[in-house]
């Protein structure tokens, strides 16, 4: 069922039922009112007619008395002699009667009857023949003769006419003063004065008596014969006996009774006007019902009209208020179903429907946001927010097709951070992530800046940065004029990535290698361009990092294409491209060379010397650190034994050990084997471990270190102060020596903070019974200060820069240093 129908089924009865009930009440009320009104009208009419009749009767009775008291009448009555009466008096009497009749048109006849019923005098208003003069035997006179009272009134029909009339008679009783004593004699009956009153006035009233359309009155005699009726054809008809019976019964009651009159239901009211005269009021019920019926019809029409109006108004209102908005909503929903998450919903209403619409719109909006987010997630890198590999490929594809159409050129830059792995491993993934993020930020701002610079270039030609994964980024440069444009961007990238990154206290130096492929020269397909840029990137890495290479340029170096720094390092180990440099450590008090720190150098045949901070991380990453570390230990041991055999040194050699070595190598046995092979005493071998490395190692490794120390090998904590070792840890660790980082020593004399740290470290070392070495000592003032503070050993450019073994041999031989030191100390 449709919404319209349902609402109509609910609302229409709500409106119609009260209306019907109301209508019913009104109908009933109306009917009752109509009945009451008509009844009261009828009652009033009947009462009025009854009163009127009574009034006429009263007047007639009074008049008869008046007439009878006239002196002429009295004289006439007293005159017993007929001749006297008839000749002398009758004309006068008749004249008197005539004048009465003229004065009272209702009276049709005045008679004087003798006590025996003889009609002695008679005057009529109309010339009507007299039937008889001897009335002694008539029922009327019989009754009159028996009457003892003053005035005798009867309804009867005079034999002269068929008309019903009221006869008012007054017996005339007089004392004849001529022969009777006025006091003691009884008045003698002399005759009767009879006035006949026509009831025409009633007929007129009957004719004009109407209640409503058909309510009327009639007068019947005792036998039920209709005497007066508005319809002359009804006159003389007989009222049904049952009806007459009812009328007679209700005669005294003013209430209306319901009867069947002339085959129709009627309300009947009756009044007894006089003996033998019954006034009946008839009120057809149909007429009363008709009035109610009209109301009923009106109610029916109103109901019908209301229903129609309701339906129309509801349909229109619902269409405006509900159906149309619902259809809008439905359309919107189906639009959403079809994928349009931001459908237009034109709604302004504040009702629930409007709220629904708004929340629906909100929901759709959220859905759209989620979709955008999901899409973003699908196409973007979650860490940097940059487009991901997928998007990069897609974008590139689009760019290619664009470039194809326009015969344009474009460049793909493949970027890889140079030491990301190292950062990740040494500083943790958080820092690595930060590095990636910061890199992305820098690159993005750079590309934005590029856009600003090349404002003449259309918007859709701006560069696109994407992260392919790990530390690999790709930069798509549409609309380049040539390799120069790409090179310009690449060199700028190199510059900004080279700038150190600062994360908290960490300062990270990074760099990037960029490979560049060009469309259409290097390829016309997405995969080709990216692969070739990747290859060019490796080329750049091999070129010593922090540079960029074009794919096409690297074609000549195809053989090197697959050679990474790692493989070169591996090769360097076997090719003896690795070399140890040595830097002396002197006794602060005496200036005597007490030790030599072995420092690894890589002499790459192409790049030249590669600093350890560039290749050590790679070595650690690749595991090459293990053979390299072992080689360093053996080489340092061998060299020291050579110098010892030559009598050049009674010092120890200090070797840096990586945390990976400690973890993965049986360092204890290697150290033992080195000592055995070189013939050195254990004290002559010192292992330097950085504070950060030491903190990362597992507890069992600590045991290994302890074992070596027990053997006599010195364990030195390198770069002390850069980590966060606690004093308790220091106490527990198998450490014999602290090396103060060169960064503190460098500014010690100018920065009180550094000076305080140096003093504190030295104090701690002393407290814990540890030896101390200061690194990076470059001036005599520093040396003097450190000596004064109680530092055991000094190391730095003040004494010597790290020297290759051959040069160190010469240095040791010259002893020059010794002397120099001596003189210095003496100052």
């Amino acid at each position: 069922m449709r919404l319209h129908t349902k609402v109509l089924l609910v609302v229409v009865p709500l409106a119609v039922i009260p209306l019907l009930i109301l209508g019913g009440f009104a109908y009933d009320q109306q009917r009752t009112t109509a009945v009451e009104r008509s009844s009261s009208q009828m009652t009033a009419l009947m009462d009025q007619m009854t009163r009127n009749f009574q009034m006429h009767q009263d007047v007639a009775e009074a008049n008869v008395k008046l007439f009878a008291d006239a002196s002429l009448v009295r004289a006439y009555a007293l005159t017993e002699d007929e001749e006297e009466r008839y000749v002398l008096m009758l004309p006068s009497l008749l004249k008197l009667f005539s004048s009465y009749l003229r004065a009272y048109p209702d009276y049709s006849e005045i008679r004087f009857l003798l006590p025996d019923g003889y009609e002695d005098a008679r005057t009529t208003s109309m010339p009507t023949p007299n039937v008889t003069e001897e009335e002694g035997e008539t029922p009327f006179f019989q009754e009159l003769a028996r009457f003892e009272g003053e005035t005798f009134t009867r309804v009867s029909t005079r034999p002269e006419s068929s008309e019903i009339s009221l006869q008012v008679a007054r017996p005339i009783r007089l004392i004849d003063l001529a022969v009777q004593d006025p006091l003691n004699s009884k008045p003698t009956l002399r005759g009767y004065l009879v006035v006949t009153m026509r009831l025409n006035f009633m007929a007129e009233q009957i004719a004009s008596s109407r209640v409503g359309a058909n309510g009327h009155t009639l007068i019947v005699n005792e036998a039920g014969k209709i005497l007066f009726h508005q319809d002359p054809s009804k006159l003389g008809q007989q009222l049904p006996a049952s009806l007459l019976d009812r009328a007679l019964k209700t005669g005294e009651d003013t209430q209306l009774v319901s009867v069947s009159y002339l085959d129709s239901k009627s309300l009947l009211s009756a009044r007894r006007l006089h003996d033998g005269l019954l006034l009946i009021g008839v009120l057809p019920e149909a007429e009363l019902l008709e009035e109610g019926g009209r109301l009923g019809k009106a109610v029916a029409w109103v109901v019908l009209g209301t229903v129609l109006l309701l339906i129309i108004v509801l349909l229109v209102a619902m269409s405006f208020l509900m159906t149309r908005p619902l259809r809008h909503l439905m359309n919107a929903i189906s639009e959403i179903g079809q994928g349009n998450l931001t459908p237009e919903i034109a709604l302004s209403s504040r009702d629930e429907l409007g709220q629904l619409m708004r929340s629906f719109q909100g929901m759709a909006g959220n859905l759209e946001k989620s979709r955008v987010k999901i899409e973003h997630l699908a196409y973007h890198d979650s860490l940097t927010g940059l487009p991901n590999r997928f998007r990069a490929h897609e974008t590139l594809r689009r760019m290619i097709s664009l470039a194809r159409r326009e015969n344009g050129k474009m460049a793909v830059l493949f970027l890889d951070l140079d030491n990301f792995k190292r950062v990740n491993d040494t500083l943790g993934h958080q820092v690595g992530d930060q590095l990636l993020k910061e890199t992305a930020t820098r690159l993005t701002s750079l590309l934005r800046a590029e856009d600003v610079i090349h404002q003449e270039v259309p918007q859709n030609t701006s560069g696109v940065l994407a992260r392919l994964g790990g530390d690999e980024f790709v930069i798509l440069l549409p609309k380049v004029n040539g390799s120069q444009d790409a090179a310009k961007v690449a060199s700028r990238i190199l510059d900004i990535v080279k700038v150190p990154f600062h994360f908290g206290h960490e300062e990270i130096y990074s760099g990037s290698s960029i490979g560049v492929s060009l469309f259409p020269d290097d390829g016309t397909e997405v995969d080709d361009l990216i692969k070739r840029a990747d290859a060019a990137m490796y080329q750049a890495k091999e070129q010593g990092r922090n540079n960029f290479q074009f794919y096409s340029a690297s074609y000549n170096l195809a053989v090197l294409e697959h050679i990474s720094l790692e493989s070169r390092l591996r090769r360097a180990l076997s090719n003896s491209e690795l070399e140890l440099y040595y830097q002396p450590l002197v006794q602060a008090r005496t200036g005597k060379i007490v030790g030599l720190e072995a420092l690894l150098r890589w002499n790459d045949p192409v790049e030249g010397v590669i600093p350890p901070d560039r290749f050590i991380p790679i070595a650690e990453d690749s595991g090459l650190i293990l053979p390299i570390g072992e080689w360093v230990l053996r080489e340092a041991g061998r060299q020291l034994s050579v110098w010892q055999a030559a009598g050049l040194s009674g010092a120890f050699v200090s070797v840096n050990v990586s945390a990976i070595q400690l973890q993965r190598q049986d360092l204890v046995s290697i150290v033992g084997q080195v000592l055995k092979d070189s013939g050195l005493s254990p004290w002559q071998l010192e292992l330097e471990i950085t504070e950060t490395a030491l903190m990362k190692i597992r507890p069992e490794v600590i045991g290994d270190l302890d074992a070596m120390r027990q053997k006599g090998v010195t364990i030195s904590l390198d770069d002390f102060g850069t980590g966060y070792s606690s004093l308790s840890l220091l106490q527990e660790l198998p450490i014999s020596k602290l090396k103060i980082d060169k960064s503190f020593v460098r500014d010690m004399l100018v920065d009180p903070k550094d000076a305080a740290i140096v003093s504190a470290v030295l104090f701690i070392a002393k407290s814990l019974g540890l030896r101390s070495t200061a690194e990076g000592v470059e001036t005599l003032e520093q040396a003097a200060h450190l000596a004064k503070e109680g530092c055991d050993q000094l190391q730095g450019y003040l004494l010597s820069r790290p020297l290759p073994a051959a040069e160190m041999t010469r240095f040791l031989k010259s002893r020059k240093a010794m002397g120099l030191l001596k003189s210095t100390l003496q100052v």
């Binding site: 002429l72 004289a75 002699d81 007929e82 001749e83 006297e84 009466r85 008839y86 000749v87 002398l88 008096m89 009758l90 004309p91 006068s92 008749l94 004249k95 009667f97 005539s98 004048s99 002695d120 005098a121 008679r122 005057t123 010339p127």
Partner: protein, 348 residues
């Protein structure tokens, strides 16, 4: 008080009583028809007796009856009564018996007239006798009138211009006469016919009052063209207009006698009798007859009348003329009643 003074007072009282007695019958009320008395004769009576006659009038016997009935016969001293009514009024006790002792001049009166009606001899003195006929304007009625029917069934142009005498006996009488019946008829059918005739005539009747006889008479002014009239009255009208004509209808009519009576209720009966007696002095009666143009029953007076008066066919109709004329007879009471009813139905 002295004897002489006492005598003086007695004389004075006597003198005043004599004067008072002489002044007592100063005025008599005479109930009569209008124009039925010569004023000069009344003056003469007054000169001779000091008694003033004040006349009171009626215009029909019926009207006189009503008048007397209203007062029960009181208030009048002398009245003119038609012969048929004397018996009834006397029976009623309203009339004073009269005889030759009280009215010495009765000796001049023809005894036939005195006894023409019952009780007339005892209670009345004949005044004049006359008949009933039709008076009309010859110039207004385009044909010679001969019959009562000319009056009772008037031609269209006379409608509203005829009058009748409002007396039950006369009116019903002429109707009966017109129909060929006796005017004393008691036959109901004849009376019904008479009534019908009168009823039919009624719309054309201008009045049922007796017309006046002076110069203002409706007959002279032309308001009326035809009427019932007592014969002598015509002559009075003819004094003013020669077009006045009188006819004795061929069907006949009534012969009447008027009587002078003294009312028993009168306190001046002596004066009244004296007046009647005066009127019957032959010379007076003769003058009076000539004044009213009626035939006098006074034989002595008749002898004094001029020849042409005595030969006037109107005043003294011939035997031939009076062939169908009747006097009113005594009728049964109920017949009288019937006539009264008929009369009332027509007039009232």
């Amino acid at each position: 008080m002295s004897v002489s003074k006492t005598l003086l007072v007695a004389f004075f009282l006597l003198a005043t009583s004599v004067v008072a007695k002489a002044a007592e019958p100063k005025e008599l009320v005479f109930l009569s028809w209008p124009d039925y008395m010569d004023p000069e004769i009344l003056e003469e009576f007054e000169q001779r007796t000091g008694i003033t006659i004040k006349q009171s009038y009626f215009d029909s016997d019926t009207a006189r009856g009503e008048l007397l009935l209203e007062t029960e016969g009181k208030g009048f001293d002398v009245a003119l009564i038609n012969g048929a009514s004397i018996r009834i009024l006397a029976k009623r006790g309203w009339l004073e018996p009269l005889d030759e002792l009280s009215i010495p001049n009765l000796k001049h009166v023809d005894p036939r007239f005195r006894t023409a009606f019952e009780k007339a001899e005892d209670f009345g003195v004949p005044y004049f006798w006359g008949t009933l006929g039709i008076v009309y304007r010859q110039d207004l009625v385009p044909f010679p009138v001969t019959s009562w029917m000319d009056l009772l069934q008037p031609v269209k142009q006379l409608h509203g211009k005829v009058s009748m005498i409002g007396d039950s006996a006369d009116m019903i009488g002429v109707a009966l006469k017109a129909l060929g019946y006796s005017l004393n008829s008691t036959a109901p059918q004849e009376l019904r016919e008479a009534e019908s005739l009168l009823q039919a005539q009624a719309p054309a009747v201008k009045t049922y009052r007796y017309i006046s006889l002076n110069e203002n008479s409706a007959l002279l002014t032309g308001q009326l063209a035809m009427s019932m009239m007592y014969n002598g009255d015509t002559r009075m009208l003819q004094e003013y207009n020669e077009n006045i004509a009188f006819v004795f209808p061929k069907e006949g009519g009534n012969i009447w006698i008027d009587y002078l009576s003294v009312l028993s209720a009168s306190p001046k009966k002596a004066a009244a009798k004296r007046f009647i007696n005066f009127l019957n002095e032959p010379e007076i009666a003769a003058r009076l007859a000539q004044y009213v143009y009626y035939a006098t029953p006074n034989k002595a007076a008749e002898a004094l009348l001029p020849e042409d008066f005595r030969n006037d066919p109107v005043i003294y109709p011939s035997e031939e003329t009076l062939k169908n004329f009747e006097t009113y007879q005594r009728l049964p009471p109920r017949a009288q009643k019937n006539r009264a009813a008929i009369f009332s139905r027509i007039v009232y």
